[in-house]
């Protein structure tokens, strides 16, 4: 095989695989605008009927609201907690640092079913099933590792010498934090907020157990209706979730372009 042929072959395979990775998501988004009775691709006619049905349903609307509220609470909580922890990890000198970090990251590795069942076990006893702030707290457990990884790389861009200089010039420790560390790490903080929101907004397994009937989130509603049938309304809901992902990835890319900082993406 000549080198030209080989390169072409490798390229063709990669293009095909990349297409395959993107295609299912794009197809759902296009099919959601179908005007047909069931999901056909390509659609024979276009309409927004599935969106009308989605947004016209009070249960779907309340699911949107639940998802938004829980997502915002999760992102604030995990970014604040994660920022303090990441800063301590970066500047603090203490024993068991590596062990502590891997402990803080374990919620990603432990199957979500295990976390969900265990938290549900306690929640059921204390009447916490269906309580939105509590669901946000549980989501924070799985969002925290995401935040920590993003903020650790963001805080790496803060030069300790700058902090020392501010200290020498009479700035208090809190002042250094607010005037030096936070502004420099800001792009990373915004990224962390965005991705922790997304983690919560997309989370399903923990929500299935904790949502109860009162606080169904969008993924839980999708799950419950998919157990019954694969109906086209879900395509519209899915497209909304995809749009939120695209929006957040876009915002993150924008922030990184404006100011080079840490990010969740491996390109940084």
């Amino acid at each position: 095989m000549g080198p030209v042929l080989r390169t072409t072959l490798v390229r063709a395979v990669v293009v095909l695989l990349c297409f395959g990775l993107l295609a299912p998501i794009v197809i759902v988004a296009i099919a959601s605008f179908s005007g047909d009775g069931y999901l056909k691709f390509p659609p024979e006619s276009f309409s927004t009927r599935w969106y009308e049905r989605f947004l016209g349903d009070a249960r779907w609307r309340s699911a949107i609201l639940n998802s938004l509220m829980i997502g915002v609470m999760t992102s604030i909580l995990s970014t604040v907690i994660g920022f303090l922890a990441a800063y301590a990890m970066m500047r603090g000198e203490f024993r068991f640092k590596r062990l502590l970090l891997s402990l803080l990251l374990t919620p990603v590795i432990v199957p979500h079913v295990v976390t969900a069942v265990a938290v549900y076990f306690l929640s059921a006893r204390f009447g916490l099933v269906g309580v939105r702030p509590w669901i946000a707290v549980a989501h924070t457990v799985v969002a925290l590792p995401v935040v920590l990884v993003i903020l650790q790389s963001a805080l790496r861009t803060v030069d300790p010498a700058l902090e020392r200089a501010a200290m020498v010039c009479g700035c208090t420790r809190f002042g250094v934090f607010r005037r030096v560390v936070l502004p420099i790490a800001l792009p990373g903080v915004v990224s962390a907020t965005l991705f922790s929101f997304l983690t919560s907004f997309d989370e399903l397994v923990i929500s299935i157990f904790l949502a109860g009937i009162r606080s169904e989130t969008l993924p839980v509603r999708i799950w419950n209706s998919l157990l019954l049938e694969v109906e086209p309304t879900i395509a519209a809901v899915s497209t909304l979730l995809i749009a939120v992902t695209v929006l957040i990835l876009g915002l993150d890319a924008l922030i990184r372009r404006i100011r080079e900082g840490g990010s969740a993406l491996p390109s940084s």
Partner: protein, 280 residues
């Protein structure tokens, strides 16, 4: 600027409290309380024996391992060339390939699963195309069976493998490959004797992370599988939601958790070289 001992722990306190209060304690409590409920050690052992060697659980354990292995292998075979391309691409090509991996990666698992349910259904796109081209005369059963589960899980887990492999491949010094080529190695030899060994730790880390995530999977097999594709995580959910059989759920959780943590320990050894490559 080194912090004193006290402030560091003070800053870490909220994170630790959360981890202990909403993760470690609930898991410990759930396992201990549910298993203690069974009575004396002899009675506990009897129940463990009854649960683990019952047809349903044994079958689910076999399914879990089998599906996990097949999916991991597929993900590796598909992920390797994509990671390679990503690690060597520049400019627009890099951004495009990255987008194809990152967009699915950050899209909800349930949405990705639904997308494949739409594609693989009896009236789905794949059957429509195959029927249209005359390759088949009646629709294939691609959904609600093992094929569906494997396709769905492979799709969902692919980005984890690609991102892990990417970190290892990016670190390979291209000059080594050029040197080998310069000394007369064929492209196959360059790959087998230079590139593959240098990225082996990435492959092992990727295989471990994919398998760890696969055996804990619940959403995709529950929606895309049939009655004979029950995996252990689904069984745990059923024991809790349907029959409220906490002891049985706890025993299965111990098995799943033990395997997961052992493999994670192994993973940590191999991923040391690729800091943060596994999961953003």
């Amino acid at each position: 600027m080194p912090l004193g001992r006290l402030p560091a722990w003070l800053l870490l306190a909220p994170a630790l409290l959360l981890l202990i209060g909403v993760f470690l304690v609930p898991i410990g409590w759930f396992l201990v309380a549910s298993i203690m409920e069974l009575g004396t050690p002899a009675e506990i052992w009897e129940e463990v024996d009854a649960v683990l060697f019952s047809g349903a659980v044994a079958g689910a354990l076999i399914n879990t391992n089998w599906i996990g292995l097949v999916v991991t292998l597929l993900v590796l075979v598909i992920g390797y060339p994509v990671s390679y391309a990503l690690s060597r691409a520049k400019g627009v090509a890099f951004t495009l390939i990255l987008l194809c991996i990152v967009l699915p990666y950050f899209t909800s698992t349930i949405v990705r699963t639904y997308a494949w349910m739409v594609l693989l259904g009896r009236n789905g796109l794949i059957n429509q195309v195959l029927l249209g081209t005359g390759l088949i005369s009646e629709p294939l059963n691609l959904l609600y069976n093992r094929t569906g589960v494997v396709i769905g899980m492979t799709y969902v887990l692919l980005p984890y493998m690609v991102l892990t492999l990417y970190a290892a491949m990016k670190a390979v010094d291209m000059r080594l490959l050029q040197a080998a080529e310069g000394m007369g190695a064929t492209p196959l030899q360059v790959f087998l004797r230079v590139f593959a060994p240098l990225t082996l730790h990435g492959v092992i880390a990727g295989v471990l992370i994919t398998f760890i995530l696969a055996i804990g999977f619940f959403v995709t097999p529950a929606l895309m599988g049939g009655p004979s594709d029950i995996m252990i995580a689904m069984l745990i959910e059923r024991e809790v939601e349907l029959t409220q059989n906490w002891p049985a759920a706890a025993i299965m959780t111990v098995v799943l958790l033990t395997v997961t943590l052992i493999l994670y320990g192994l993973y940590s050894r191999f991923s040391g070289a690729l800091e943060g490559g596994a999961k953003p």
